[in-house]
């Protein structure tokens, strides 16, 4: 069984905590789906102490916390945010995001590798949000990352796996590395597909949080990742162009 820096996860679903209609619905989505990892962030604390209320909600979920560096555009900013997150959330895990492009939120992979190296030297366990580029992946592994999180599609786009060919190549290239599809999932079928391809987990947020019924969608996503995982392990058949009768021909009655 693959682990995430030595930690086994109960299932292949990681959920974000943003954009839910209310904290109660957020809690319901986690409880009903059983997702084992929650991504969180750090923002400026207001006078009302809203961060402290959120912290209570997160603690009560009883799941593994994965703080992110969302919105960071420079190595310095991401490293400082990670250092602050480690203290606040009490974990060495960090989802490292280095945003390179405003519209697509595509990772700046050059800065990503640099920041990953710095953070790993400081004892962090880095989950890099990256693209499907194999050379970047090699550099991230070389920097000490033990998990890779390639995007399926741009964050929040809900487009599914837009470059399945490259993702399949990535899976084949790094069979031992835990690979998590992070971002772009819109439907349970997308999540199931990621797992059918052999990915180890799926991280999503918007598809659940912005659904009409987030808790039901969270359950649907869990069903999808578990089905996809089981299917991958069951060694699916290859698609073919022509029909192949499944009912035996031998012994068929001659009735015409």
């Amino acid at each position: 069984m693959k682990t995430y820096y030595g930690t086994e996860l109960p299932n292949p679903l990681m959920l974000g905590t943003a954009q839910y209609p209310s904290p109660a619905i957020l809690e319901q989505a986690f409880r009903e789906s059983g997702a084992g990892v929650a991504t969180v962030s750090l923002r400026r604390e207001g006078a009302g102490g809203t961060g402290q209320t959120f912290w209570q909600v997160i603690q009560e979920l009883g799941v593994q916390i994965l703080p992110n560096t969302a919105g960071c555009h420079t190595v310095k900013e991401a490293v400082t945010t990670a250092q602050m997150a480690r203290e606040v959330f009490g974990t060495r895990w960090v989802k490292l995001e280095l945003i390179g492009h405003t519209d697509s939120l595509q990772p700046d992979v050059f800065q990503l590798v640099e920041a990953a190296r710095i953070l790993i030297d400081e004892g962090f366990e880095v989950f890099p949000y990256t693209t499907e580029d194999l050379i970047v992946a090699e550099h991230l592994l070389g920097a000490g990352c033990e998990v890779l999180m390639p995007w399926g599609a741009p964050i929040g786009s809900g487009r599914g796996l837009t470059n399945e060919y490259a993702l399949r190549a990535m899976r084949a290239e790094f069979p031992e590395v835990p690979l998590v599809i992070d971002a772009g999932i819109g439907l349970p079928s997308h999540a199931a597909r990621a797992m059918e391809l052999g990915f180890d987990a799926v991280l999503l947020n918007t598809a659940v949080a912005r659904a009409g019924d987030p808790a039901a969608m969270a359950r649907a996503m869990m069903g999808a990742v578990e089905a996809g995982k089981l299917a991958h392990e069951a060694d699916p058949i290859e698609a073919r162009d022509m029909a192949e009768a499944s009912t035996p021909v031998i012994g068929k009655a001659f009735l015409s």
């Binding site: 400026r44 604390e45 809203t50 402290q52 912290w55 992110n68 400082t80 250092q83 918007t206």
Partner: protein, 64 residues
């Protein structure tokens, strides 16, 4: 002394970062940075503030 806290200009009397948190009423789980450098909770008491410092006080928040 004039400093900037979470992007807002503030006039404060605090001499150290830990005094600043008390003066502004921050408690609970927060992380601090001064002039873009992380300052660990254990170092706040000895971290002296200077006029013009940019202080960030961050707390847990929803994220994806």
């Amino acid at each position: 002394m004039k400093i900037v806290v979470n992007g807002e200009p503030r006039a404060v009397t605090a001499a150290t970062l830990s005094q600043l948190l008390v003066e502004l009423g921050f408690s609970g789980r927060v992380a601090t940075a001064v002039n873009e450098d992380f300052v660990a909770a254990s170092l706040r008491e000895q971290h002296r503030l200077n006029a013009g410092d940019r202080v960030e006080i961050l707390a847990p928040m929803q994220g994806g």
